[in-house]
């Protein structure tokens, strides 16, 4: 490691970094704006100036921008040098010539990087006494607020939005001191990652509009580490509450998963918590009752002889386990269709037998060839799509290495690489949003998509089963894909369960195995349907269909699950009729809730502690954010109380989160590691708990004064070692328990630098969570799947159904968020133009499938496969692996 002298003190620093990164890693408070740890340097703001000296005899030195200078051995720099300091102060002085003095009414106030840097540089007096420049703001849609006067032109927004996230409707306009960042005209920011602007922007230009709706200063939030519940990737989040409602979701850094970012579904989906129709009270036959009464009624209900429990892929391990324990393992069913159930288990099996590595989002980012098979990532697992966007630059970037341009020198790398994109191949029913960075795109029916995958495997390894009847064109594409994968150092195959079909997953597994046999360091990603689909699969239990077939039921207990999303209305209705009494625990007011006799108000993620297992098999804990005043409680807690009273198993011994978790891991062998995900509830640092509120939290004694003037006793947390107030340990908590980022002088999210072992690397003490699937080969050797489907033949009179996913609308909970709801498209049916003779775009037709029927407008798409109809997932329920439907004219 090279030695860097900073103000004459020698430090060991890592090779390949720039001086700014080195200084921040060493803990120096060096201000910056335009540099971003994930986006690198461009040298625009000139804020990070330091002095550099030729050698120890050089006393004059010269100013340089630390973010633009690579670390070299025995370099000598000064951070404290008066000239460098003056310059840094002056940069703020310049920015302040136009920055308004509106901190008091600015959403960013108090957690503002510009404020922090202003204080850090010591700039305190204004010398500019002329008029400030002003701009008009734009309406950018439901997520992001725009206040251009605050702009300091660091260019981070466009660098994130365009360069990093592939957005094309935000840009820099005009020049000189009139540079403007926005859209061409008012309108919704279309990119799926727009919410990150609120964290990437170092001041209050782009802020979270949903927070603005019920604004609170960020230091007045009670916050807890959480896990995003809106897809299977398990991005780490921070949720913040005030006055009993969650106000915002922010990024929680995870070096191996989401890094510094979140997708808009994950950031803005939280508003489902605050939905008007949310279940907040216990209800018996539609009447609100108190908790006591509810408990008694449920105890009675579960004492019946035939009790069946239906779990949920969107509920925590603990809640599912509590239900399983309550009803007994033979009566526990996963609340998912037969198909989804089988796919989750298939994915689990492939991961367990995976001969190499299960790749994280971070390793996808460093892949140099990617093959995506039958999964529209941008809409099923958005952050994975963001990782793919970074990965396509890796191969072309090798030229930058050769030209000795360091990776962090972002603009220079982009200029050298230009429009070149590294190998990325996509096979799906539609080209998908990632097509703009793809080398090759194949579209076809789900069967044909899978066939291409099988063919690639066969090219790589002749022992893999061959595909009969492939066209010359498709063979040559398979050849091309195989060559790219075989020529890569770290190829990655990405697939998922979103199509509802196994073929693409089988084919992906074959490709992985074929690469493995070629001694490639290949990896696989299999995305799952929901945030805990894999966790549920690791728990054992049967599908919803099995429950339907299990005969009559006295009491049905449904855990956080809308059964109507998993099978046809007719089938679920019929099942409900079989059940004498239906108990539903949920927070969302679903169709299932409406059919229930007893409704228990379940805590959603913000009111709960729990563990989820993400698509790579990583167990991650989310913490309750705030103490609820009402009867809203974790499902597992409700069930534990009921179970204890009803004398079920050893449920009487369950006291808190930990005892549930311990019971779970001792009876669920695959979940063994889950107990070690976070420190135990008696963990203390210097005898203290970890505070959920920052020490600047205000109003604690006053906020309930309208109810009672005496300050209430702070709630105690039996489930974790966190406190609900600002009292507690002020230093950095263990990495799995970071409720917010703060460091002296760093009030904005940029303080995350201080929590990492090295800027941009893992959190101190290692990134949180625990991979439950690690034992490679322990579950038997992988084999080639041989069930290659026939080439898809369009049929007369009916169309094969393909599920089309949408980032907004396909996922159940986020669809209930007010802001997200504004971005949801109307349900539709998509068909190839040739299959729609006599139909016009937008015409209402009647669509029927598997006993369901809907009137939907037609979307014609000439590149959609013939003989297939696309239905939007989550807005229309499609069960079963292979579904067919019929389109007919609406009869007036």
């Amino acid at each position: 490691m090279p030695i860097l002298y900073i103000d004459n003190t020698p430090y060991e620093v890592s090779q390949g970094k720039n001086l700014l990164e080195a200084c921040l890693t060493l803990g120096f408070d060096l201000p910056y704006f335009c540099w971003h740890p994930a986006m690198g340097s461009v040298g625009a703001c000139r804020q990070c100036a330091v002095k550099i000296f030729k050698d120890e005899n050089d006393t004059k030195g010269k100013l340089i921008m630390s973010c633009m200078e690579p670390v070299t051995a025995n370099q000598r720099i000064s951070v404290a040098d008066p000239e460098a300091r003056d310059f840094r102060e002056q940069v703020i002085g310049w920015l302040m010539t136009n920055h308004p003095h509106d901190c008091a009414v600015c959403d960013e106030g108090g957690s503002c990087h510009l404020q922090d840097m202003t204080v850090m540089t010591g700039h305190a007096y204004r010398k500019f006494n002329y008029k400030k420049r002003t701009y008009k703001n734009q309406d950018l849609g439901p997520f992001i607020n725009h206040e251009m006067n605050r702009c300091i032109q660091c260019y981070r927004c466009v660098r994130f939005y365009k360069d990093y996230a592939g957005g094309r409707d935000l840009d820099a306009f005009a020049s000189r001191n009139q540079v403007y960042f926005g859209r061409h005209e008012d309108g919704v920011l279309e990119n799926e990652f727009s919410g990150n602007l609120s964290e990437v922007c170092p001041t209050g230009v782009f802020t979270d509009k949903t927070l603005k709706d019920h604004y609170t200063r960020k230091w007045d939030l009670t916050m807890a580490p959480s896990i995003c519940h809106h897809c299977s990737l398990g991005c780490n989040t921070i949720a913040g509450e005030r006055y009993g409602s969650v106000r915002m979701i922010g990024n929680r850094y995870h070096g191996d998963i989401n890094g510094y970012f979140l997708c808009d579904r994950g950031r803005f989906g939280y508003e489902f918590l605050n939905a008007k129709d949310r279940i907040r009270n216990p209800m018996i036959q539609g009447q609100v009752v108190d908790g006591e009464k509810m408990r008694a009624a449920v105890v009675d209900a579960v004492r019946q002889p035939r009790v069946v429990g239906i779990g949920s892929p969107r509920a925590s391990l603990q809640s599912n386990y509590a239900l399983k324990e309550l009803v007994g393992k033979d009566n526990f069913y996963h609340g998912v269709s037969e198909g989804e159930h089988a796919l989750a288990h298939l994915a689990l099996e492939i991961l367990q037998k995976n001969p190499q590595r299960i790749v994280s989002m971070k390793s996808v980012e460093s892949a140099d060839a990617i093959f995506i098979l039958g999964d529209d990532l941008t809409n099923t697992a958005p952050m994975m799509a963001l990782a793919v966007r970074q990965a396509v630059r890796n191969k072309p970037k090798e030229a930058a290495d050769q030209a000795k341009i360091p990776g962090w020198h972002d603009a220079a790398v982009r200029e050298l690489v230009q429009e070149e994109k590294g190998p990325l191949f996509i096979a799906d029913v539609l080209p998908t949003k990632l097509a703009d960075v793809a080398t090759g795109v194949f579209t076809g029916s789900p069967d044909d998509v899978a066939r291409l995958g099988y063919a690639v495997a066969h090219v790589l390894d002749p022992e893999a089963p061959p595909v009969q009847g492939l066209s010359a064109e498709d063979s040559s594409l398979a050849q091309q894909i195989a060559t790219a994968l075989a020529g890569a150092k770290k190829p990655v195959i990405i697939t998922g369960t979103s199509s509802g079909q196994a073929h693409a997953i089988h084919a992906s597994s074959n490709v992985l195995l074929a690469l493995h046999k070629k001694n490639k360091d290949a990896g696989i990603v299999i995305t799952q349907a929901e945030c805990n689909s894999l966790g549920l699969a690791m728990m054992g239990g049967k599908s919803l269909k099995d429950a339907f077939n299990a005969g009559s039921v006295d009491t049905l207990v449904v855990l956080e699950n809308d059964l109507y999303r998993h099978d046809s209305t007719a089938a679920v209705d019929a099942f409900m009729k079989q059940c004498n009494q239906v108990v539903v625990l949920d927070h969302a007011n679903t169709t299932t809730v409406q059919k229930a006799h007893l409704v228990i108000p379940a805590g959603a993620f913000a009111e709960s502690d729990g563990i989820l297992v993400n698509n790579e098999g990583r167990a991650q804990r989310f913490f309750q954010v705030y103490e609820t005043k009402s009867d809203i409680q974790e499902s597992w807690r409700w069930l534990a109380v009921v179970g204890a009273e009803a004398g079920k198993g050893r449920m009487a011994e369950w006291k808190n989160f930990e005892s549930v978790t311990h019971a779970m891991v001792s009876s669920e062998p695959l979940l063994h590691g889950a107990a070690m995900v976070t420190p135990s509830s008696d963990y203390r640092v210097e005898g203290q708990r970890i505070p959920r509120a920052p020490h600047r939290y205000s109003g604690r004694t006053a906020m309930t004064a309208d109810i009672a003037v005496s300050e209430p006793k702070p709630p105690e947390d039996p489930d974790s070692s966190m406190s609900y107030t600002m009292e507690g340990f002020r230093g950095q908590p263990p990495s799995s328990m970071i409720p917010f980022y703060w460091s002296p002088g760093w009030n904005s999210v940029q303080s995350v630098n201080k929590y990492q072992e090295e800027v941009g690397a893992a959190l101190r003490g290692g990134d949180p969570g625990l991979k439950l699937i690690v034992a490679l080969g322990q579950h038997g050797a992988p084999h080639y799947f041989k069930d290659i489907p026939e080439k898809f033949k369009p049929e007369a009179g009916r169309l094969r159904i393909a599920r089309l996913h949408h980032i907004f609308g396909s996922e159940e909970l986020s669809a209930r968020s007010a802001s997200v709801a504004q971005r949801i498209q109307m349900p539709y049916v998509m068909v190839n133009t040739a299959d729609a003779v006599g139909l016009t775009e937008g015409q209402l037709v009647s669509v029927s499938w598997n006993g369901s029927e809907a009137r939907l407008p037609v979307r014609l798409n000439p590149s959609f496969p013939k003989g297939v109809m696309g239905l939007p997932a989550g807005m229309t329920s499609v069960a079963g692996e292979e579904a067919w439907g019929i389109i007919s004219n609406v009869k007036e």
Binding site: R46, Q90, W94, Y155, N177, A403, H409
Partner: protein, 431 residues
């Protein structure tokens, strides 16, 4: 006196046709190098000739070329920087309008030296006459086999296109020029990597000034020693000098490198207009430091002007007379820089408009003494290396020297609360 750049220019200033140019010995240099000279030999010849870039920075042309990787596959580019927009500068215009073939021949030689196969002339929009001349000349050169495939049977291939800009001083800065040619905003790029390694479309690229390129055919024809001897001083060659402002006969002349400022103003410029006295001059365009009376005998070459505390820049002198307000003069310059700043980096984007405002208020008699400190601060803080590109340091050069040489005039504005020159100049509000 030899004038290799301008000797063939027609009296009526119509562009030399291909035929005329050939009759005057045109394209002989190209023929010469294509007969067995290696690219490296051309580079060495040009390095030996001592030719320094005429675009303002004065870097050795041969040395600059030598950084281009020679054994790479793929396109390389050569670009003629004809974006002349430096206030006070009107030298490239003459060459572009009158001897377009000499520049084209120079471009082919330079392309050969770095083995570029694509070339562009980046011409500023306002040079309409030049655009017509170059368009025709490029066509003629193609027709005669000087451009295109297998030039003169040598196997060397070069295409050439004319690109006209859409108005932005920054396009003259070589890396911003590259961005502009790529259809992007003309903001500069960080160096390193230099364009020689990663230039236009990420490929190795050389950007040379028009006048630099025009020097190449004569150097090839007559040799390095001859070129050196053209000069009166250590910096080789002749130079297109110009004088504007209130002199009797403003104009541009090709003269041996190293004529003095006095000669330029008094002999060629005809001296100051009746009743006016010389107070100072920008030796090479808006972004050079003032020279004043004590510098009149400074030799106008890179080394000597630098020793006098300024830069030769483009070698086109703007004269300040005693009836013109120096504050207004500098304010006009800073207005230009504030308008033309690309807006990429903070000090320039925010600092120069501030400077302009301060100068405006001093000019109007509303200045305060503290303003002088603020101006000084900007001069220091916008120095080389502190801003992203050389634009802002250039903008500070005239201000810095004005504060040094005309400080009293600034202070008089502040103390007397009005512009002492006011009767001469109606000071208009900023646009």
């Amino acid at each position: 006196m030899e004038k290799p750049l301008t000797e063939h220019i027609r009296k009526d200033r119509e562009p030399l046709t291909l035929k005329e140019y050939e009759q005057a010995g045109g394209y002989q240099a190209l023929r010469k190098i294509l007969k067995g000279t290696t690219p490296k030999e051309v580079q060495t010849l040009v390095t030996d000739s001592g030719l320094r870039g005429r675009g303002g920075a004065g870097f050795s042309t041969g040395l600059k070329w030598s950084f281009v990787p020679m054994n790479v596959i793929g396109t390389k580019y050569l670009i003629s920087n004809a974006d002349e927009m430096e206030p006070g500068t009107f030298k490239d215009r003459i060459l572009l309008e009158c001897t377009p073939h000499q520049m084209i021949e120079g471009m082919i030689i330079a392309s050969f030296a770095i083995q570029a196969t694509e070339s562009f002339v980046f011409l500023r929009w306002a040079y309409k006459t030049a655009a017509r001349a170059i368009t025709r000349a490029i066509q003629e050169a193609y027709d005669a086999g000087y451009l295109g495939k297998d030039i003169l049977g040598s196997g060397f291939h070069l295409d050439m296109h004319l690109h006209t800009g859409v108005g932005r001083y920054m396009c003259g800065e070589e890396t911003a020029l590259l961005n502009s040619l790529e259809g992007k905003r003309a903001t500069p790029r960080a160096k390193p990597p230099f364009p020689q390694i990663s230039g236009l479309f990420g490929k190795p690229t050389i950007v040379n000034n028009v006048e630099t390129l025009c020097c190449l055919p004569p150097i090839v024809n007559h040799g390095a020693e001859w070129f050196k001897k053209l000069s009166r001083t250590g910096d080789a060659g002749t130079k297109l000098y110009g004088v504007s402002g209130k002199v009797k006969t403003p104009g541009a002349w090709e003269l041996p490198m190293g004529v003095t400022l006095r000669e330029l103003i008094e002999e060629y410029g005809g001296g100051m207009q009746e009743g006016l006295k010389f107070r100072g001059a920008l030796p090479g365009g808006a972004s050079t430091d003032f020279l004043v009376e004590e510098h009149l005998d400074v030799k106008m070459d890179y080394t000597s002007v630098a020793a006098a505390g300024s830069r030769l820049g483009t070698g086109t002198v703007v004269v300040l007379d005693d009836k013109t307000c120096p504050v207004g003069f500098v304010k006009n310059l800073e207005h230009f820089f504030a308008q033309e700043s690309c807006g990429f980096c903070t000090p320039c984007r925010e600092g120069i408009p501030w400077v302009e405002k301060i100068l405006g208020s001093i000019d109007k008699g509303e200045g305060r003494m503290e303003d002088m400190n603020l101006l000084e601060m900007h001069v220091r803080a916008l120095g080389p290396g502190n801003t992203f590109c050389a634009f802002a340091p250039g903008a500070m050069e005239p201000l810095q020297s004005a504060l040094k040489y005309f400080r009293e005039d600034f202070e008089r504005h502040i103390n007397e609360k009005h512009c002492p020159w006011h009767t001469q100049h109606v000071s208009t509000s900023t646009h």
